[in-house]
Assembly symmetry: C2
Homo-oligomer: 192 residues x 2
């Protein structure tokens, strides 16, 4: 009984519950779309409905947490890459993979309307993840001069229009080639 009430254990349980709920929501959204019920999510996570509501009082809280997790994947990719000029192109490719892996969540992104604080915070995090890798690539002149981290964010936003289930693989390749040309990065080593 003592251990159940121990604050550290309680905190660890809360983190585990939150992770289980997010994993369940991610899987159910991907499989069945975004209107899966809170009942189904809590059941699938093996966690009570009250716990789900405590962690995510509204769907907006749940969506925000999932979107924060996606941005976290880009930040994790940035952290895992070495401090080398080539890491910029590698991070851009990683961000594209994160987009592709999260196709099912496309609809979660606010398509229009007011820009919430959460959206601006995620944008700033994406820009932040690219800042140093881009600066290193620019010092080494293996990326277009004058490119800014905001440009990179906008190029990713443009690519989100083709990283969608209804866009053919050939068209995604075209889009990726156009993005490379815009950023001035190469897939193969440059030829003299």
């Amino acid at each position: 009984m003592g251990s159940v009430d121990h604050p550290t254990r309680r905190r660890a349980d809360a983190v585990a519950n939150r992770d289980a709920l997010l994993a369940a929501a991610r899987a159910l959204f991907a499989a069945r779309g975004l209107d899966v019920s809170y009942d189904d999510i809590s059941r699938s996570a093996g966690v009570g409905r009250a716990t789900l509501y405590r962690h995510f009082p509204t769907r907006e809280h749940l969506h925000d947490a999932l979107l924060d997790g996606i941005v976290g994947q880009i930040e994790a990719a940035a952290d895992a890459l070495p401090d080398e000029p080539a890491s910029f192109a590698e991070l851009f490719r990683a961000a594209l993979r994160v987009q592709t892996d999260n196709l099912a969540f496309y609809d979660l992104f606010p398509a229009r309307g007011e820009l919430g604080d959460a959206v601006l915070r995620r944008r700033a995090r994406i820009v932040g993840a690219f800042r140093e890798p881009l600066a290193r690539a620019q010092d080494a002149r293996i990326v277009r001069a004058g490119l800014t981290p905001e440009d990179v964010r906008i190029q990713l936003l443009m690519l989100s229009a083709v990283v969608r289930p209804d866009v053919a693989e050939a068209d995604r390749r075209r889009a990726w080639a156009l993005a490379r040309l815009a950023l001035g990065i190469e897939d193969e080593p440059a030829r003299g």
Copy 2:
């Protein structure tokens, strides 16, 4: 009475009614979103509901006609331009203006799911509009070598992600600059 039943007059009336209905639908969709009622559209066009249903039996017919009209604007821009190398970049800018002018119809475009014949037909028309202008620009080497009309369509699709009411003007400029770099076209004359 005779003139009312004259086939040419009847056809002219039908075309005028159809144009009035499309103009009314365009204005109402832009002002109030896509769930405007058929009653409101026919009233605003000054045309009977039966006539609206005869021209556009379902909302899909109406949306298709509006989208065909948007593609028609790009084709009209292509037709109006002289057979000169510079017309490619001009046509691309015109297509972007068409996108911007039709922001309100963004939601009409099928976001995902099956590709209807109408969608494929519109794609082919966009590609067709760019084919000759692109070939002329390539002959004059004022566009990236190897660029295809399909690439141009994909770049326009990517730009549709930023030609939206919720994207800041500064970000649209960034996107346009990236697109220019990808296509290899210039806004200002090239410097030696």
